[in-house]
């Protein structure tokens, strides 16, 4: 007598129905971690970039250090943080903020560097002070680079949250890992698709936001 193996479909609607609660909880955790991490990182990155902007030596240091730190894998970072910040949400959040910060600082610095010097000169010629030039001329001009950095940081963060499983806070990654451990493909695939969906939706939202914030760019293109 042979027993046929239990069915192990790639996708199953009954899985989604039966685990709706788990899915929404994981999704909520995933999204909240992403939003929080990117928001904190942006709040830190803007002043930091402004601070080093205009000091070529500091800029070189910041770009060098962020480049090197970006090579450290998240698993290693979580491992180095966990003994000090414990196992849980804080550790994941700190790690995510760190990586998003690296991406954002680079992009804001490069964006500010790319502002046409003639435009800055014109602002000075109009009698604007340094702070006013920064706020009304340089930052708006650097906005496309900032938004590009935000998009990159957000998509990266969405994917990175999944590694949070090593400290038990991986959002949808938690479901992927549970599905893997119990050999249930539908759970792995559903969580993966949701993660990709979150990344794509976030990217589109930021794209739209960037367009709305830089109406002059659209005018040029048409």
């Amino acid at each position: 007598m042979t027993t046929s193996p239990a069915p192990d479909p790639w996708l199953s609607w009954s899985y989604v129905q039966a685990n709706w609660g788990d899915l929404t909880t994981a999704l909520e955790q995933h999204v909240s971690l992403t939003v929080q991490a990117v928001a904190i990182a942006l709040a830190l990155a803007l002043p930091l970039a402004v601070l080093v902007h205009g000091h070529p030596r500091w800029t070189a240091v910041v770009l060098g250090v962020t480049g090197v730190m970006y090579t450290v894998p998240s698993l290693a970072l979580f491992a180095m943080l966990a003994p000090f910040t414990g196992i849980g949400r804080t550790t994941v959040l700190i790690g995510l903020v760190a990586y998003a910060l690296l991406v954002l600082v680079r992009n804001v610095v490069v964006g500010l560097q790319g502002v046409d010097p003639g435009v800055v000169d014109a602002a000075r010629g109009l009698g604007m002070g340094r702070v006013r030039t920064l706020l009304t001329v340089e930052l708006p001009n650097a906005l496309p680079a900032v938004v590009a950095g935000l998009r990159l940081a957000t998509v990266t963060t969405v994917a990175l949250v999944t590694i949070g499983v090593v400290v038990g806070f991986g959002g949808l990654g938690q479901l992927m890992f549970r599905g893997f451990q119990s050999g249930y493909r539908a759970e792995v695939v559903t969580a993966t698709l949701l993660t990709v969906l979150v990344a794509l939706v976030a990217d589109l939202v930021l794209l739209a936001l960037g367009r709305a914030l830089t109406p002059w760019q659209r005018a040029v293109r048409t």
Binding site: Y70, V72, P73, L75, A79, M80, I163, G173
Partner: protein, 238 residues
Amino acid sequence: MTGSVLEDAFVWLNDPLSWTGPRGVLALAREHLAMAAAAVAIAAAVSLPLGAVLARARRGGGAVVVVANVTRAVPTFALLLIFATTAVGFGNRPTVIAAAVFAVPPILTNTWTALRSVDHGVREAAAGMGMSRWRSLVGVELPLAFPLIAAGLRTAAVQVVATIPLAALVGGGGLGVLVVTGLATRRFGEVLAGGLLVAALCLLTEAVLAALQRAVTPRGLRPVRVRGAAQAPGAPRS
């Protein structure tokens, strides 16, 4: 607690028994690098010829860039787990394959960009000298495109070395084992030591490859700052 963890890590790293033996640091590091080498080799074998063909075809190039960007949204971890639940089985193999998949975009886009940006006049001169397409590619275009291609390979290799630690989550080897078993047994000194070792290996890889890339770039091409321009600014994280 904080102080004792640092101490534990220090003691663990200073224990010769942590370094030797079948599950010692040296053996795990060797396994780690072997897996990374396999992944980069697979990715290069697929994407170098593909990049060359696509650059010749003058079509489908846009698709390459789009696909490369989309892969960023797929977590490496997810792909790894999906492979692990199939016939690939778990352990090292799914990790190597997943790492190879994510190493394709940087190599492919750089190869494609590099070959596309070879001066048209140079290509015509090669044809005018009677070179066949193949000889022009191997003798003229590839050497000129080499710095960018090397930059892509380097980005991919560093990224792969950083991805391999995930193997430990699906029962594989490599240095990630130290972190994962340490967390499971709540030996935080070992976790910290493992994290430091993984980070050190990645930084070392980056440094060695940077030096290597400089060494193999023809002197005439060196002053061009290849790195900043070539590196995909957001190679997927893992």
